[in-house]
C-alpha cells in the first residue's frame, strides 16, 4: 500500500450525534466483550448496554445507520485504554470524531487506526449536533488539514494538535515503519541508560 492510501486529509459522511460528557470506554464497549483474541466482532457490540437500556440511543436509530462522523461532548473515551473502543466504533462505520475533548489514550488509539478526533467549542458542538438532528442526510466534512468541519454552508473551527495531525495528513499514522526508520539509534539510546547498561 502506498502512503497515499493512508492520507487522512479529510473525511466526509453523514453525521451521528451522541450528546453527553465523560462517556467512557467501558460504555463504548463493556469489558465482557473483550474476551476475544481478535477485534473482528467489536463493531457488533458498540454501546451494547447503553443501546439495550435506551431504545432511543443514537446508535439504535435507523437514520444513523451508515453515518461515519460522530459528534460527541467533553472527555469522550475517558477511562480504560482498551483499543477495542475505537475498533468497535470504526468497525461500526465511524471514520472521524468531533468533540469537546477526548480521553488521551483513546485519542492516541484513534490516531493509530487513522481515525481523526478534532476538538471544537461547546457552542459549535451543540449547533452541529442540532444541525445533524435536523438534517441527518446532509454530509459532514471533517477537514483535518484545514482544521475545520463543514456542514451545509457553515464552517466551524475544529482543531487537532500538530503531531497527530501531521501523522494523519501525511499518512504516517501507521507508526511501526516510521519508528523502525530510526535504526541503530534505538539501541544507542538504550545503551546510554544506566538501567539498561546494568548500572
Amino acid at each position: 500500500m502506498s502512503t497515499t492510501d493512508f492520507k487522512r486529509r479529510q473525511v466526509s459522511g453523514r453525521g451521528i450525534s451522541l450528546p453527553g460528557n465523560d462517556i467512557d470506554t467501558d460504555r463504548i464497549i463493556p469489558a465482557r466483550f473483550l474476551k476475544e483474541v481478535t477485534f473482528e466482532s467489536m463493531g457488533e457490540h458498540v454501546f451494547e448496554d447503553a443501546k439495550t437500556q435506551n431504545p432511543e440511543h443514537p446508535f439504535n436509530q435507523s437514520v444513523s445507520q451508515g453515518a461515519s462522523v460522530l459528534v460527541v461532548g467533553q472527555n469522550f473515551g475517558c477511562g480504560s485504554s482498551r483499543e477495542h473502543a475505537p475498533q468497535a466504533l470504526m468497525r461500526w462505520g465511524i471514520r472521524a470524531i468531533v468533540g469537546g475533548s477526548f480521553g488521551e489514550i483513546f485519542f492516541g488509539n484513534c490516531v493509530m487506526l487513522g481515525m481523526p478526533c478534532l476538538v471544537a467549542t461547546q457552542a459549535d458542538l451543540e449547533w452541529l449536533q442540532k444541525a445533524i438532528g435536523r438534517e441527518p442526510q446532509t454530509s459532514v466534512t471533517v477537514d483535518v488539514e484545514q482544521q475545520e468541519v463543514r456542514f451545509g454552508d457553515r464552517i466551524i473551527k475544529a482543531t487537532m494538535p500538530d503531531g497527530p495531525r501531521h501523522q494523519l495528513v501525511g499518512g504516517t499514522w501507521d507508526s511501526t515503519a516510521v519508528l523502525l526508520e530510526a535504526g541503530a539509534a534505538i539501541e544507542t539510546t538504550a545503551r546510554k541508560l544506566p538501567y539498561v547498561a546494568g548500572f
Binding site: 450528546p19 453527553g20 460528557n21 465523560d22 467512557d24 467501558d26 460504555r27 463493556p30 469489558a31 465482557r32 473483550l34 474476551k35 483474541v37 481478535t38 477485534f39 448496554d49 447503553a50 437500556q53 467533553q74 472527555n75 475517558c78 477511562g79 480504560s80 485504554s81 482498551r82 483499543e83 475505537p86 475533548s101 477526548f102 480521553g103 488521551e104 489514550i105 492516541g108 488509539n109 493509530m112 487506526l113 461547546q122 494538535p161 500538530d162 503531531g163 497527530p164 501531521h166 501523522q167 501525511g170 504516517t172 511501526t176 516510521v178 519508528l179 523502525l180 530510526a182 539509534a185 534505538i186 539510546t189 538504550a190 541508560l193 544506566p194 538501567y195 539498561v196 546494568g198 548500572f199
Partner: protein, 467 residues
C-alpha cells in the same frame, strides 16, 4: 535551569524527533497481560516482525483469570482461549511470563513494583490505563492501546508528545481513618475527571512525601481517572528502601550506583511547572463516590450535591448519575445500603490495603445479605497476608478469601455484580456497567471504608468504627 523528573526522563529516552514533531521515545520497561495483547502479537506475525528487545518485556495473567478455582482449563472457554494465546505467544516470542506456577503472578500493576521491575527514571508502558501506577517509583509510566503494544514489541519505541506538567501538592497531614485512596479521590474531586487532559501530574508536598510506597502507588494509579495519562512521585529514601532486595532490582554495589542515579532523576528545587495546585491534607475526610465517574464524590459526612450546583453543561451527566444510582440530590451518602463489598484491584490490592481492611473486619461480621470479597493483588500479596493470618481474620468475619487477579474491578471473570446490586469497592472506576452488570452500581472508597460498609451493610464512617 532547574529541571523536572519529566524533563530528565523524557530527554534520556528520546531517540529522535519525528517528522510529525513528536518524540520517538524509548520504552525501558514493557509490561503485558492477556487481554490487550493477542491482536498485537498477530500484527507482529502478519508483518513478520520480531520483538526488538525481548529482555525488556514481561507478562502476566490477571484480567480474565478466575479467583476461585484456577486449575486449567478454565471453566470459561473464552478465558481459557485468552490464557492459551498469551502463554503460546510469550513462548513463541521468547518472553518471560509470570504464570500461576511462577509464584509471581498477579495484577500487572501490583507485580511490577513488587518484583522491582518498575524503577525510578524509567519509561514504562503497558496496554492498560492504570499503568500510571508505576509513576509512584519515580518513573514515567502510561497506558497504551494494542496497536501501540505492537509498536513497543517491534521497535521498543512509541511516538509521543511530551505533556505539560502540573504539580499537585498535598500539604499538612492526614487524619486517622483517611487513606491514600481518599487523597486521590479528593484530588480528582477538585481538579475534575478531565482536569488532567494534556498534563502529567507530579504529586508532592508533605502528605505525599510521608506516604509509603504502597500509598504512593494508590495515588498514582488513579491519575488517569483525573484525565492525566501519567503521574509520578519523585524518588527519595522511601523509594530506594522499597526497591532494595527486590528480585529484579540491582544488587550489591550496583544497587548503590542505581540509588545514586535514581536520586539525580528527581525534580530539582526551583523547577518550573505549567501549573501548581494545592490541597490541604487535614481537610480531607474519607471520600465516597456517589455517581458514574470518579470525580462525582463527597466526604462521608456530606450530602450529595444538587445538579444545579454543577455548571450547566455538566448537569445532564449529573442527572443521569443520580438516576442510575437511584440516589436523590441532597441525600446523605452515609447509610446508603450496599449488597456487595470488594477489596482488591491495582488501586488497593496490596498488603497494606488488606491490613487496613482487616483492622476494620476485626470489629464485626459481614452484614446479612452482603457478599464480601477480598482479592489479593498478587500471589505474593496473598502469601504475605496469609503469613500474617489476615485471611483468617477475613474468613472469621464472613469475607471470602480469593486468589489473585483483577476480579470484580472490571468483571471479566465470574466475579460480577448481579442486576442493580450496589457495591462498595476499593477499585478505581464507578462507570456504568464496570463491575460486570450493565445496571450494577459502584461506590468507590478506601479498603477500610469498604470493610466498614461490609460489616454495617451500608456506607459508614470508618473513623467511628476505628475509635
Amino acid at each position: 535551569m532547574a529541571r523536572t523528573l519529566l524533563d530528565k526522563v523524557w530527554e534520556a529516552h528520546t531517540v529522535r524527533t519525528l517528522p510529525s514533531g513528536q518524540t520517538q521515545l524509548l520504552i525501558g520497561l514493557h509490561l503485558i497481560h492477556e487481554v490487550t495483547t493477542p491482536q498485537a502479537f498477530q500484527m507482529l506475525k502478519d508483518s513478520k516482525l520480531k520483538v526488538r528487545m525481548p529482555e525488556r518485556t514481561f507478562g502476566t495473567l490477571d484480567h480474565i483469570i478466575p479467583t476461585t478455582d484456577q486449575t486449567r482449563p478454565y471453566a470459561d472457554p473464552l478465558a481459557e482461549d485468552m490464557a492459551e494465546h498469551m502463554i503460546r505467544n510469550m513462548k513463541e516470542f521468547g518472553l518471560p511470563l509470570f504464570d500461576m506456577a511462577s509464584g509471581r503472578q498477579g495484577i500487572v500493576h501490583v507485580i511490577g513494583p513488587e518484583l522491582g521491575l518498575s524503577q525510578p527514571g524509567m519509561t514504562i508502558a503497558c496496554g492498560d490505563s492504570h499503568t500510571s501506577t508505576h509513576g509512584a517509583v519515580g518513573a514515567i509510566a502510561f497506558g497504551i492501546g494494542t496497536t501501540q503494544v505492537r509498536d513497543v514489541l517491534a521497535t521498543q519505541c512509541l511516538a509521543m508528545a511530551k505533556p505539560k506538567l502540573r504539580q499537585v501538592r498535598v500539604d499538612g497531614a492526614l487524619a486517622k481513618g483517611v487513606y491514600a485512596k481518599d487523597v486521590i479521590l479528593a484530588i480528582i474531586g477538585v481538579l475534575g475527571v478531565k482536569g488532567g487532559v494534556g498534563y502529567a501530574y507530579e504529586y508532592a508536598g508533605p502528605v505525599i512525601e510521608r506516604m509509603t510506597m504502597e500509598e504512593r502507588l494508590t495515588v498514582c494509579n488513579m491519575s488517569i481517572e483525573g484525565g492525566a495519562r501519567f503521574g509520578y512521585v519523585n524518588p527519595d529514601a522511601t523509594t530506594i528502601e522499597y526497591l532494595r532486595g527486590r528480585p529484579y532490582a540491582p544488587a550489591g554495589a550496583a544497587f548503590d550506583r542505581a540509588a545514586a542515579w535514581w536520586k539525580t532523576m528527581a525534580t530539582e528545587p526551583g523547577a518550573a511547572f505549567d501549573d501548581v495546585r494545592h490541597l490541604d491534607g487535614a481537610a480531607i475526610e474519607p471520600v465516597v463516590t456517589w455517581g458514574i465517574n470518579p470525580g462525582m464524590s463527597v466526604g462521608v459526612s456530606q450530602s450529595l450535591p444538587t445538579p444545579e450546583s454543577a455548571p450547566e453543561p455538566e448537569r445532564p451527566t449529573f442527572r443521569e448519575a443520580l438516576a442510575h444510582m437511584g440516589f436523590a440530590a441532597g441525600q446523605p451518602i452515609k447509610g446508603a445500603k450496599i449488597d456487595v463489598a470488594f477489596v482488591g484491584s491495582c488501586t488497593n490490592g496490596r498488603l497494606s490495603d488488606l491490613r487496613a481492611a482487616a483492622e476494620v473486619a476485626k470489629k464485626g461480621k459481614v452484614a446479612k445479605g452482603v457478599r464480601a470479597l477480598i482479592v489479593p493483588g498478587s500471589q505474593q500479596v496473598a502469601q504475605d497476608a496469609e503469613a500474617e493470618g489476615l485471611h483468617e481474620i477475613f474468613q472469621a468475619a464472613g469475607f471470602q478469601w480469593r486468589k489473585a487477579g483483577c476480579s470484580m474491578c472490571l468483571g471479566m471473570n465470574d466475579d460480577k455484580l448481579q442486576g442493580r446490586e450496589m457495591s462498595a469497592s476499593s477499585s478505581n472506576r464507578n462507570f456504568i456497567g464496570r463491575q460486570g452488570s450493565p445496571t450494577g452500581r459502584t461506590l468507590l472508597m478506601s479498603p477500610a471504608m469498604v470493610a466498614a460498609a461490609a460489616i454495617t451493610g451500608a456506607v459508614a464512617d470508618v473513623r467511628e468504627i476505628l475509635k
